[in-house]
Amino acid sequence: MNENYAVPAVALVVVATVFVGAFGLRISRTTSDFYVASRTVGPRLNAAAISGEYLSAASFLGIAGLVLVQGPDMLWYPVGYTAGYLVLLLFVAAPLRRSGAYTLPDFAEARLASQSVRRLAGAFVVGVGWLYLLPQLQGAGLTLNVLTGAPKSLGGIIVAVVVVATVAAGGMRSITFVQAFQYWLKLTALLVPALFLVLAWQGDGSPRNAFDEPAAFREHRVVRVDSGLDLKLAAPLNVTATGTVDGERYEDEKVRLTEGVHRIAQGTRLGFTKGDHVPVADRGSNGGMSTSLAEGREDRPLYATYGLILATFLGTMGLPHVVVRFYTSPNGVAARRTTVVVLGLIGAFYLLPPVYGALGRLYAPELTLTGDADAAVLLLPDRVIGGLGGDLLGALVAGGAFAAFLSTASGLTMAVAGVLTQDVLPARGVRHFRLGTVLSMIVPLMASVVVGGLPVADAVGLAFAVSASSFCPLLVLGIWWRRLTPPGAAAGMLVGGGSALLAVAATMAGFPGTGPLHALLAWPALWSVPLGFLTMVLVSLATPGLVPAGTAAILARFHLPEQVSGGQVRTAVSAKEVDA
């Protein structure tokens, strides 16, 4: 990796982001283009903005890493991330927009007219936001570490500072244009190198054994082990070792590793020859984003897959930074159209990371050993193409990766800061949005510095699980079920989201290392989502007297097009309420 190109590319992305954010307003100086300046955001622009904000580090780097390490099973991640918008489109998008709510707490208040449910929803928004910000910061640290060898926390700090500075200083005056720009930047940054990589792969004779188990080295390769690990060998293997293997010191010597488990110390270099199978690393939770909750997954792959599907399908609608973007659509129909375009844009983007994953398995299989599998996307151009072209493409990818961190992090920060300033911090005249911004960034930043090596792809998955078990019941039942009551909503969110959060905490703390209980806790969505729904329904049915007054009118507003619900229908609805 040549940092002479990568660092300027990253800097360029940062500067471009700030620039578009600060000057992306529509300005008109004559009245003739007044109409253009005050035109609402169309579905295509808004969809690009939503996609730009949504495609995070986990998508840009993590999925390729997951596919590289664990094979095509991991394709459920991009499928789930995309299909979440299908659920959003079918059940939530238009009614949510028609409710007039800007954030999820706003929706809770609009639907249930209850301040306490609003506060509870706010707490969950902050929780989900922080859980989601953490991997963004860690991903930035990893990227910078791979690019320049800087300490792993530096990248996160840079992203945090840039985001807080632009958001707090009011620099993001027009976030829609910034995010749309980031989407196209990210797509380009993956698409262009991918084309070259595929050409190079064809020139290489199109090897097709990417997912043969286990992966094999295609050339002589020296691997440096950055953190100690245990190698599990199914067959004996000859390597050239410099460093400590099984407690013995070697200096560029040939070692025959027998079948079984071998301890490789930190800093050891292992030389593999062409055709060697890549040994399986047996590691704890010390890796980057892709090390995943591998044990639970291997024990119960079917359960884990369903847990993942449920969390991503239903969790997308509760992501705070996604929800606020829908407010930009002028009406419910536009919100629905926007979602359709988002499906297309995100679907197109997610075709690319698996390509990197497959090529990574062919050309950089040792990444499964070193725990830096997330760097696959960053390393591949240099590895496969090399030379100046490889450097330039690598710089492009690096810029795209930073765009991913910046866009998602700034969107999340704004969403969390909005909730903090509105519902948590005391209001004093001009509400201190800046303090909220700093607060919403400092907590995940501290967490990412303190708990350096966390399995971070899981943090994203867990954020989805918490969102799916708390906000999905609230949104779906709030929009489609007229007997929902405030106590029911509060209890459902607390039980569903709370249990998912506890499971997340237990998993992160490494509470039960293995076994069925671990799988249950590591993939909580499969039981916590139904639990949330069930609690919400049962408590609501138990408190029928507390259905908010005017529910029928509010639901009519959610479901009728704006033109209709303006005047005459309201009288019809109130007549109906008198009957009831």
Binding site: S38, T40, Y102, A113, R173, Y327, A427, A447, G550
Partner: protein, 404 residues
């Protein structure tokens, strides 16, 4: 290790928040406990209970508010059962003996008619029913009987009669306040309607005069201006809905400015900077156009003598959960003390009514934190900033939804 730390953090944060919340909820009443003599303590308790019962009643007498306050009122009176009624039905029954509902309603016609309190015995077939005696006290607002408060007890008691009467009077005061709130809302709604009518005369005469001046020289332009005029008046005279979106309001401002520019020509220039994500923000109908009108008047007509050129800039920015709208002119400015008196309603010069009315309406809809912020000084132009929350309960561009 690091994973454990992370887990601990995630687990501890919600617990801390829950503890903080619980602590705040539980300590508030207890802090009164250490104060004063037992008598004073009892007074505190009573006042506290009364203050808890007050807020729901401030929304008027409905089934929901009656249910919420009835519990507190029963604690206040210390009876076995308490019920609140309106003219014809029981709104809320708190405590035991709900089977007496119809019996009590039958006996209520008298007190509800003449507005005088009454106490009577209740017949009951159940031998262990503790409700044997009912005290009725009417709830009156402006000498009209709105309902009644009925306290039930096992036996006759003069103390209870007296206490019930006092509590009923206290409830009546709360209901009167609710009535006042309602009439204040109605007043402001009337003001909004008044403002709509207010735009027209001045502006209509000027616009028509300008259009007339173009009819011979430039008929095509005159036609366009007439259409703009039609669009603007259609918007400002529309009857449905108290709210509109920022996009619609800006379009109205566009029509308005086109007409004004036809009159002033090059003397007026306008810059517009809009962040497109704030365009769907809902705001009170016609609350920015008066500000622009004010800026135009102020920049070109106001002050001492005529000004040659004036520049107005309109900015709408995204600021988290709010939209920030700034309208700035480089006119002669205004004395802040004078402006303060205009906003306080002490003086009403021409053109000032718009400002104070917009200020009042913003405060009424969004709360006192959201009044206009005006920065001005003599000779330094004027900058008006309005903050519009993106979401406010009850504010919706499709119209106001009443929860009753």
């Amino acid at each position: 290790m690091s994973g454990f730390l992370a887990g601990l953090l995630v687990a501890v944060l919600p617990l801390l928040a829950a503890g903080f919340w619980l602590g705040r909820r539980t300590t508030r009443p207890r802090s009164l406990g250490g104060l004063g003599t037992p008598v004073e303590h009892a007074t505190f308790e009573t006042l506290h209970t009364a203050s808890l019962a007050a807020p729901p009643l401030r929304a008027g007498l409905t089934e929901e508010t009656a249910r919420k306050s009835a519990r507190r009122l029963r604690t206040l009176l210390g009876t076995d059962a308490l019920c609140l009624t309106d003219q014809d039905t029981v709104l809320a029954w708190e405590g035991v003996g709900e089977h007496h509902k119809t019996q009590i309603m039958d006996r209520l016609s008298g007190p509800l008619e003449n507005g005088r309190g009454e106490a009577f015995r209740l017949d009951c077939v159940e031998p262990d029913c503790p409700v044997r005696w009912a005290v009725v006290a009417p709830l009156t607002v402006d000498d009209r009987v709105h309902g009644a408060l009925v306290a039930c007890a096992p036996r006759e008691s003069a103390v209870l009669v007296r206490a019930t009467g006092e509590v009923a009077r206290w409830v009546s005061v709360q209901l009167e306040l609710a009535d006042l709130d309602q009439s204040r809302t109605r007043l402001i709604e009337a003001e909004i309607k008044a403002l709509r009518a207010q735009i027209s005369p001045h502006f209509i005469f000027n616009s028509l005069a300008v259009i007339a001046s173009f009819v011979r020289t430039d008929p095509e332009r005159a036609r366009e201006l007439l259409l703009e005029f039609a669009d603007f008046t259609r918007y400002s005279f529309r009857r449905h809905g108290d709210f509109t979106t920022l996009a619609d309001e800006l379009h109205a401002i566009d029509h308005y400015l086109t007409l004004v520019r036809a009159r002033f020509g090059d003397r007026l220039s306008v810059t517009l900077q809009i962040a497109p994500e704030v365009l769907p923000v809902t705001l009170p109908f016609l609350c920015l156009q008066p500000l622009v009108e004010n800026a135009v008047k102020h920049g070109l007509e106001g002050g001492t003598g005529q000004v040659d050129k004036s520049h107005i800039s309109i900015t709408a920015q995204d600021a988290g959960a709010e939209a920030l709208v700034v309208i700035e002119d480089d006119g002669p400015g205004m004395d802040p003390a004078w402006l303060r008196r205009i906003l306080a309603g002490e003086v009403s010069p021409s053109g000032g009514i718009g400002l104070s009315n917009v200020d009042d309406r913003l405060r009424q809809v969004y709360g006192d934190d959201y009044g206009l912020v005006i920065e001005t000084a003599l000779g330094a132009g004027m900058k008006i900033t309005a903050r519009l929350p993106k979401y406010q309960p009850g504010v919706h561009s499709a119209g106001r939804l009443s929860r009753e």
